[in-house]
Symmetry: C2
DNA sequence: CGGTGTGAATGCTTTCACAGCC
DNA sequence: GGCTGTGAAAGCATTCACACCG
């Protein structure tokens, strides 16, 4: 199962898997398979009904065990980077809500504004457990990364989006997605290198 | 080949694959295989020599066709997010150098400071081709994402780190890494969902 | 027909397991 | 004995190809 986050930025009513392939580069077979294991049955010879499809994708992600409809997450580290995410990170109709932001500096926490509460990092454990936060966006500075991640992990956080260049070392109960520019570019580069090697 | 960017934040002289597994969660077999296809032979019963290993990784990424040693990249879009990356994005010893930043607003370009030149987006094509830039970090706002990506793609950019929530539709000659918070969290969540499903 | 849904085939990635080296 | 390097096995993800449905 790949990701299914096309989330229909379409303005049609129906879409065919072939059309999705053209727009995204993911192969039509793969798209058909992924959609099929949502176990809805909204396709016909005009393609999929976009409305039903995006509905189904969202509800697959939101799912059973979350009592209210969205997954809760937080931003840890409100330097330039973290602060940049405060506003823009999560579109309202996404399966996630940001419930809190944290920064080491009390000052910083007071200066910044957001549509959710900001706390000093000392309250990390408390807020995460009372709010039932499941995921974290990690934007602290290099030298705090590992230790902060450990604290998150011991609160029972399920996943961390790591915007840090540090390679985190955590128990396997928490999964990490490395999304710093360095990480992203390294992936792109090695993609490029293998495809270059294949051509020879 | 997975990624190989542990880049030795170690302070030992040797390291065993088992130790890497503990620190990163990537399995030792995989690590051994990845390292082996670097075709260096720097292991023994004390493990790998860290110095030689990280050397080899870097030179594998830097590689043949780049005349000077680092891959060139640029930041496109200097809103809060792009600006946050200006300073911190690329450590000096990485296989990448940032050679330029772009923003639509001439004003913005003049206000911000960086260790590399900033240009208005109108000069995108020109700068990229004269500087021979290969990769881009895309941090423009939602509604510019697709059109800007198309311009990048037609300059022959090889890869885009997409910090935008937009799903880009580009020719397959350019590869895209989706690294917005929404994207990252969605991946984490679907990870979590499948592992939960397996346990049942 | 055009396009989905899905077994069966393919091809990659990851792990196993063990020979060889320090 | 401990650890690497690597064929061979197992496990996943992706694609093929075709029956079936609107």
């Amino acid at each position: 199962m790949l990701l299914a986050r096309l989330l229909a930025q379409q303005n049609q009513e129906h879409i065919t898997s072939l059309e999705i392939e053209r727009q995204t580069g993911w192969s039509q077979s793969l798209i058909r398979r992924d959609i099929s294991l949502l176990e809805i049955r909204c396709g016909s010879s005009n393609g999929y009904k976009i409305r039903e499809l995006s509905e189904a994708i969202k509800s697959a992600l939101i799912a059973q065990d979350a009592p209210d409809s969205q997954r809760k997450c937080c931003i840890v580290g409100l330097g330039n980077l973290g602060a940049a995410f405060l506003e823009s990170a999560m579109p309202a109709d996404s399966p996630f809500v940001i419930k809190a932001g944290f920064d080491f500096s009390v000052n910083r926490v007071e200066i910044l504004k957001a549509s959710f509460p900001l706390h000093p990092t000392s309250m990390l454990e408390e807020v995460i457990s009372t709010e039932n936060i499941e995921f974290a966006i990690l934007t602290v500075c290099e030298n705090m990364a590992q230790s902060t991640a450990e604290r998150l992990s011991s609160c029972g956080i399920k996943g961390i989006a790591n915007y840090t260049n540090t390679v985190l070392s955590l128990p396997e109960s928490v999964s990490v997605e490395n999304v710093s520019p360095l990480s992203a570019l390294t992936n792109l580069l090695s993609d490029f290198l293998v495809s270059a090697r294949l051509k020879r």
